[in-house]
């Protein structure tokens, strides 16, 4: 069993037009930069992308939008992206906006082998239109289905040759959930170590969920809102 690939191009070799992708990250934090750049280079088309955000104009999923590779975007928040807004308003891009917790839990359900979940998020709003409703203990809930995605593409801090993953700080966000939810899960990490080197107590994503892993390079890790205090403060 070899899960280790040399780079994003090799790990994404069989990605195809029309595939459904789960892409980890929150804003630009913890996004799979190497894989996104490889998909842009490969020019795969008609993709459905499930990701909390859509990047910014010139970074992250925004790069895929610029090349019109995305047919449908499923996200919770898409501000900060003018090209996205333009494609949305012109009707070029199909967009499904869903609550952030619903997005996370639909990934979790897929990874836990559950077909659906009930959540109160969106009850009484346009999100609830057409959805099955159940009342538990006098509170209304919507039935939301687990995602059924072809590829999950995630970013972790460290990983080992068996595919075990550890994330750093808030770059964890959707990554472990999406890692669990892909038919094929591809993890790019900042450092790949031999199996046995990571402490099993510290593993966030067990390797069973990860089919391909590679060490990414040239991480830009762009910061969307650089907020600092001066040393004098």
């Amino acid at each position: 069993m070899n899960k280790v690939f040399n780079n994003a191009d090799e790990a994404l070799k069989d990605i195809y037009d029309g595939a459904i992708l789960l892409l980890g990250g929150f804003g630009l934090c913890g996004i799979p930069e190497n894989c996104i750049n490889a998909i842009v280079k490969k020019d795969t088309k008609n993709l459905t992308c499930i990701s909390n955000n859509a990047g910014v104009d010139d970074f992250g999923i925004g790069l895929m939008l610029q090349k019109k590779q995305v047919k449908k975007m499923i996200a919770s928040y898409v501000g900060e992206n003018a090209e996205f807004e333009r494609q949305l308003l012109s009707g070029e891009l199909e967009v499904d906006l869903i609550p952030q917790g619903t997005l996370a839990t639909r990934c979790m359900a897929a990874g836990y082998g559950m077909p659906a979940i009930f959540t109160p998020a969106g009850v009484g709003t346009e999100v609830a239109i057409g959805k099955e409703v159940r009342i538990f203990d006098n509170k209304t809930y919507l039935l939301e289905y687990a995602f059924d995605a072809d590829f999950a593409i995630v970013k972790a801090w460290k990983g080992d040759t068996d595919g075990n993953l550890i994330y750093k700080a808030t770059a964890r966000n959707f990554n472990p959930l999406m890692a669990m939810a892909g038919k094929i899960t591809i993890a790019e990490v900042e450092e790949v170590v031999p199996a046995g080197e990571l402490d099993p107590n510290q593993i966030h994503t067990p390797g069973i969920y990860v089919h391909r892993i590679f060490e990414g390079k040239n991480y830009e890790k762009r910061i969307e809102q650089r907020t600092v205090k001066k040393l004098a403060d």
Partner: protein, 217 residues
């Protein structure tokens, strides 16, 4: 009339010792600057952090450590990281004691609209729909009127809803109000603002019962 920092300062009085608190983007974020002395709260950031600290010093910012507004931040001792499902799990399960968020409109029955202006602005709901559907204690920070002077405290929301019957209290630039079964109930007025002005600028049903005190900070 209060400015944004004064609204945040008044909101901070809603904090109680030991509270786990989620602060939304905008004015709610400023509440962290006014946590009263002797009170200790834990700030939850829904992208996966309990124990959010202040902004980092210049040069110490970490791209992997941001808040829900995508700002670089720090952690405080005792903090923890977790994934987005657990983050909304603790929100859904009612573990977060207080949620403060912004709004474009609130109705007299506690409905809130804050995520979309049809044809104009579609940024998405982010975590707002999950928060308002589950949190037990939701306080809204908002301007009482829009730039045209029209009330944002309505009989019924006009904009697409974020959640229904969920807002418990509002701190606006003019007043503090509870949302009761009978409508908005005026509790406090901002320094220098008359009850008449608040009545004139509140389109929804407003209850004014007895003498209304001026806000204390």
């Amino acid at each position: 009339m209060l400015n944004k920092n004064q609204i945040a300062q008044r909101l901070a009085k809603e904090l109680q010792d030991g509270f786990y608190v989620n602060l939304g983007i905008g004015i709610p974020t400023l509440v962290a600057n006014y946590i009263p002395e002797g009170i200790s709260v834990v700030l939850q950031s829904e992208n996966g952090l309990l124990g959010m600290g202040p902004f980092p010093f210049e040069g110490e910012e970490d791209a992997d450590l941001i808040n829900a507004g995508k700002q670089t931040i720090t952690t405080v001792p005792g903090s923890s990281f977790f994934d987005s499902a657990m983050s909304f799990g603790m929100i859904r399960a009612g573990k977060v004691d207080l949620t403060i968020l912004g709004a474009m409109e609130v109705s007299e029955t506690g409905d809130i609209a804050n995520w979309k202006i049809p044809g104009k602005m579609v940024k998405g709901m982010g975590g707002a729909m999950d928060l308002v559907a589950s949190a037990k204690n939701i306080v809204v920070a908002m301007m009482h009127t829009n730039p045209k002077g029209e009330s944002k405290l309505l009989h019924r929301c006009v904009l697409p809803l974020t959640g229904i019957g969920c807002v418990k209290k509002i701190v606006s630039d003019l007043a503090v109000l509870d949302i009761t079964n009978e409508g908005f109930k005026l509790l406090e007025r901002a320094p220098g603002v008359s009850v008449e002005e608040i009545i004139a600028k509140t389109a929804g049903k407003l209850i004014v019962d007895g003498e209304i005190p001026e806000m204390q900070f």
